[in-house]
Subunit: 345 residues, 2 copies
């Protein structure tokens, strides 16, 4: 599949390597023709330009900037805070990203779109005025419009998170499925057989992955996937507490719960406590994120920590490759979250 994907990408968007092959020169020579043509013999130059023309090759604006007018700035849209808990780990993410940027000779430039401006226009505006060399996207999900928009304009970017858009683009994502499966295994190893899931409703990329991890974790342990041990709720403590109360009312209630977020885990703890269960003993709970709230909860929450320092490093690696125009395989990187064992499970 990866091979087929690469081939189809090749036919739709030629790379500097394709041009080099067609013109029988090195990639450096192609780069010189585009950026410092005076260094290349006129005959070679023409051969390269013919290949560029014939293949319809478009170098990245960012790649040109690297030589000509690179700003060494990476644009990042500060997510709106009204989204309610959607960025529980923003501080760690920004720290990881800034740290990695510094090492790569970049700085992170924050922006918020003008309320009168379409969000996507803000990317276009910043991209066109070359205040930035490219972008890091977060909050990436199904049908993300920013991805084709930036690809079509040749604006370099790296996505934190995956989308289902039918294009190839560079991304880094935390492996939510592997994370929740690890949590299920941890619980099964401690003797739990009725492991419930309280997580976001179907339809969000991250939520669907975490839910898949739950099913895979059960399957790996030889446990049945029982729909009556599953509740899908929005990312709110109250909603999670109510849904959990329902699950705990069964004749054979769960003894452990995995979740799609620390916020939901807070609600599970609340519901368990309301029933008089000792959390960590009579009801085990595992969160996801390792947001600050995780260590403030009582008992402190066992949770899946997003490795955001590594995410930052990977984003900059891919971004640097993007700028170098090295795009036959934009590639994606999955990083595994770490299970942080505290007292709740």
């Amino acid at each position: 599949v990866a091979r087929a994907g690469r081939e189809s990408e090749r036919s739709s968007a030629p790379t500097i390597r394709d041009v080099a092959t067609a013109a029988q020169v090195s990639r450096q020579t192609v780069s010189n023709v585009l950026n410092a043509p005076e260094r290349v013999h006129p005959r070679t130059r023409e051969r390269v330009l013919v290949a560029v023309e014939r293949l319809g090759y478009h170098p990245h604006r960012g790649a040109r900037n690297l030589k000509a007018r690179a700003s060494r700035l990476l644009g990042y849209r500060v997510p709106p805070t009204d989204a309610g808990g959607s960025n529980p780990v923003l501080d760690r993410f920004l720290h990881g990203l800034s740290d990695a940027s510094r090492r790569a000779g970049y700085h992170v430039l924050l922006f918020t779109p003008d309320p009168d401006e379409d969000e996507i226009e803000a990317y276009d505006h910043l991209g066109r005025t070359t205040t930035v060399d490219g972008f890091v996207l977060s909050g990436v999900g199904y049908g993300d419009e920013r991805i084709p928009f930036l690809l079509d304009r040749g604006v370099p970017f790296v996505a934190f998170g995956r989308s289902d858009v039918d294009r190839r683009y560079p991304w880094v994502d935390v492996d939510g499925a592997a994370g929740v499966a690890t949590a299920v295994r941890h619980l099964v190893e401690r003797g739990h057989r009725r492991v419930a899931y309280v997580g976001w409703p179907a339809g969000s990329m991250a939520g669907d992955q975490r839910h898949r991890g739950y099913r895979e974790g059960l399957a790996a342990a030889g446990l049945e996937h029982r729909l009556d041990l599953e509740a899908r709720v929005v990312d709110e403590t109250r909603a999670a507490a109510e849904a959990t109360s329902g699950l705990l009312g069964h004749d054979l209630p769960p003894t452990a719960v995995v979740t799609s977020s620390d916020v939901i885990a807070a609600g599970v703890i609340e519901a368990g406590r309301a029933r008089g269960l000792r959390i960590g003993h009579e009801l085990a709970v595992v969160g996801f994120d390792d947001a600050p709230v995780a260590s403030y909860l009582s008992p402190p929450l066992t949770t899946l920590r997003q490795p955001l320092e590594e995410v930052g490093r990977r984003i900059l690696e891919l971004f640097t490759r993007e700028l170098a125009g090295d795009r036959d395989d934009p590639g994606g990187v999955l990083v595994r979250p770490d299970l942080v064992v505290r007292e709740s499970a």
Copy 2:
């Protein structure tokens, strides 16, 4: 006092206005001499330069940049996340700051110092290479070395928070004393007479202000300040819970607790619940910050919300004035936090 402070500043750091007065020209003429000397008659030019020399006037590098090579970037150091809960409202702060920056034609540039580099060197480095027009400082406190460092180098900045350094500089701060006093009044109006304080140890600027608000709130209500109703603890839920247990063990225990942070309030709630008290009924609790944790707690926390959108606006107002070299009165701005009443009090 303000007047005296202003006068001493005037004698120690001459402003463009002082130069204009001494040379008997307008401020615009002084500015022209420094930025576009060809526009000024040689005789006037010399008179201004003599005044500049005699008074020891140093124009801001930032002010020169505004004409010559302004980057329109505002540097902000992402605070280290290991400081544990020291930035519970970073996302709202960054959103407020980015929003206000956009309106003022600026962008926020994030940086983290190289671990091998002194933190203060990082400011110097970014300032000297003029990647930024100036800085926003957060985490400002007693004896903050960054303030004299940047003042001495003429690097424009605005501090979020106050220090006790014996210099004048532009700052914006949330009025912690007024906030906690408001919380005490709220509780007294609801019939509480034994209002305790659980807050950070003496020695932090913000903590000392919040503690002062507690004492002022008691005094305004005609209540005695009883040291046995007070506990000073580090910003941790566990430590706060232990200290609160002690207070609740008194013969006449408190019926309400004000705190210096939401994290501490979480510990107070935990201790109250461990004693079987119904929070919001038998024990009222007020936090500070309105961090995400505030609404996840059970019951949701009444707290003092830092008005960070306004903080962002005020910072940009002062920064723009700094860049214009308008510094006879760098001035400070205090904004009041809002009491957000939820179920805990």
